[in-house]
Point group: C2
Chain length 403, copies 2
């Protein structure tokens, strides 16, 4: 098997943690597998370098930031390689450039365009463990070091796994997998063995600390089997994120996600002009406001009420846009005391009654549902924020996710 592993900042946060990662790699290697490990900078290093840069400029050039920040991952890759060499394992570090990672030239937020695996294949054939400095590549245009932005090391690992056709890509963090819901809310939450890409994307909040959507999307696109597991408890199997077809007997519901960072915008008695709703949402999109759930109800006098949600962070931008529609609306209000609870599962597609079960469960707790939106594999409900935890626990229970 060819395994691509990725170790984030906390997994390589100290020299002792790096030694621990070397142990994990040794064990996999001893098992006869080939290994490419992608590493982040030691935690704290990147922030230190940013502080250094800010000493000179509040707004340093992205091109120079990339030169600066890419050094942290190089340090980790060399140290881990030295640790493995010392213990008798052939290993070689590689910068993003040496690993053949070509990117766009949008510095600090570059996108991987292609990976030339020649160098890596040669090193593997020579019996090396390869330690790749994550988060970085080289721009095709300028042949200059770039970085990939947030979650860049995960992306590096997934992209390499795809390009070199690895059997698996394991993302090591300090969390041992994806849970059916947030265990801080529902202690009975269970670690999932496997989950499909689409479910993972819908359950983003459950993976927030361990997997970014950008990586899951790439894994889906490149058909990479992704595993979320912990470098602190390497003997615990993690959660496999794979394509739906690979999952036998998927449960009807896989998990319950909660998102408290939502604001509900209510527009009452919107003027009965043609295309007014379209105008509103186009203006919001132009202002980069991420509109999520939308409900329109037609009132008695023919005027419509419009309800939608936006992320808390977009509220200021949204208010500016809304001002231009003030004359067309009787009243606009903003409600931050709401949250979104989502039930996700590929099994929904072939099962009826999933939604009604949820509505009943919430009704039993006297929780009012303000907005509902459904997709093939997800039911999202906007409820009052004070009921958030109660709703999650009820739903977790009614779908028997602790079993």
């Amino acid at each position: 098997m060819l395994k691509v592993l990725k170790f984030g900042g906390t997994s390589v946060g100290t020299l002792e943690r790096i030694q621990n990662v070397a142990q994990i790699i040794k064990k996999i290697r001893d098992n006869g597998d080939d290994v490419i490990a992608v590493v982040s900078a030691m935690s704290g290093e990147t922030n230190k370098l940013i502080e250094y840069a800010n000493h000179f400029s509040k707004n340093p050039s992205n091109k120079e930031l990339d030169m600066l920040l890419s050094s942290g991952e190089r340090v980790t890759s060399a140290l881990l390689s030295i640790a493995l060499n010392e213990q008798g394992y052939k290993a070689t570090s590689m910068s993003g450039r040496e690993a053949g990672i070509k990117t766009t030239s949008k510095h600090t937020e570059a996108r991987i365009e292609s990976i030339d695996t020649t160098n890596m294949k040669k090193a593997l054939a020579e019996g090396n463990v390869i330690i790749v400095a994550g988060f970085q590549g080289v721009s095709v245009d300028e042949n200059r070091v770039t970085t990939l932005g947030r979650g860049g090391s995960d992306l590096t690992a997934v992209a390499i796994a795809g390009a070199i056709n690895a059997d698996i890509c394991e993302i090591y963090t300090d969390v041992d997998g994806i849970y059916t819901t947030d265990p801080r809310i529902e202690p009975k939450a269970k670690k999932m063995d496997q989950i499909s890409y689409d479910e993972m994307l819908e359950l983003a909040s459950l993976g927030a600390k361990v997997l970014q959507n950008r990586s899951v999307e790439m894994a889906k696109k490149l058909n990479v089997n992704l595993v979320s597991r912990s470098s602190f408890t390497p003997d615990v199997e993690g959660t496999l994120i794979t394509k739906e077809e690979n999952i036998m007997e998927a449960p009807v519901v896989s998990g319950i996600a909660l998102d408290k960072n939502q604001v509900r915008v209510g527009m009452y008695k919107v003027a009965d002009k043609p295309g007014i709703a379209a105008n509103i949402f186009t203006s919001l999109a132009d202002a980069d406001v991420n509109v999520d759930m939308i409900v329109q109800t037609v009132a008695v006098d023919g005027k419509a009420d419009l309800d939608f949600t936006i992320p808390t962070g977009d509220q200021h931008k949204a208010k500016t846009v809304m001002e231009s529609f003030a004359k067309d609306v009787e009243r606009i209000d903003y409600n931050e005391s709401i949250c979104k609870v989502s039930i996700v599962g590929v099994g929904m597609k072939s099962n009826t009654g999933v939604a009604s079960k949820a509505f009943k469960a919430l009704a039993n707790e006297n929780i009012n549902i303000r907005i509902i939106s459904t997709s093939e594999i997800k039911i999202s409900m906007i409820i009052e924020e004070k009921y958030a935890e109660l709703a999650v626990r009820s739903l977790h229970d009614v779908y028997e996710l602790d079993k």
Copy 2:
């Protein structure tokens, strides 16, 4: 003018010092000159990284050390570039690779093979100050980052100056130039305005803290005008090291060097066998012992006495070699209480009586000369170590170097 500048570890040792270097560059730039600055790692950084490596291995692979250690210079180059950008100066950092520096693949001690100046010329033409990460290049064979060993950043600067045909290469340290002798020994020592490459090479000990012979040799070979000056007192002109022809009215004697790291080996009554001396020195050379001055005196009974000096650090190796000649010699002794005083000056070539002046000066102080060796531009004398400082002062005085 195109100026190549080099700033060492103490010159960029803190963020404040880096800001100071930015000021120096700005002033030169404002004067209309083009600038390529070569920078070292912030002082302490390289040692920190070596400590990290040693946490994992007492003997880390040189290839990995190069990946590890080359990161420090990259950080400085990005920070300095950010500092200049912030103040409205176009600047770009470059790694050794980006600056086109190709080396042998002898990791941690690579030699520069060639420099492709295309990238640098383009950046200069676009009006950039270029900040090159010193001490590093890329091996031609493996296309892998290499480092150049001790004094590597100086070498980078000199090699770039040669390759791009710069008008001058200024090496900034915390010392403002080359003195006629060590000012700690002779407070009347004067900073020299200029000195020839050959004199500088012979006066190595006077430049020990500011210029390595490897860099001076390269400057001589590439005909690069080298300046030793201080980043702490940038308004003070430094010392120009240039070819002899550029120096008008060279003084007869330029400087007095002192080397206390010498051991005198005495071999008494060496057997009268053909080629015995040749055997001895061949064996020493084979054992990598650096023999410096040699004197042979023929004793009355036909047996010879052999005196020579070696660096203190080679004493152990030398003793091992000497054992194999024990049967051919009546007695061997080692004297560490000696030192070498050297008088250097290109003017000697065309002036007589320089040596006798030195001998008289030492005789006046009752200092016995044990060994003498002379070259075209140097007279070296072995004397008892306790007279070292007195000898330096007397010689400094007799050649009127304080004038």
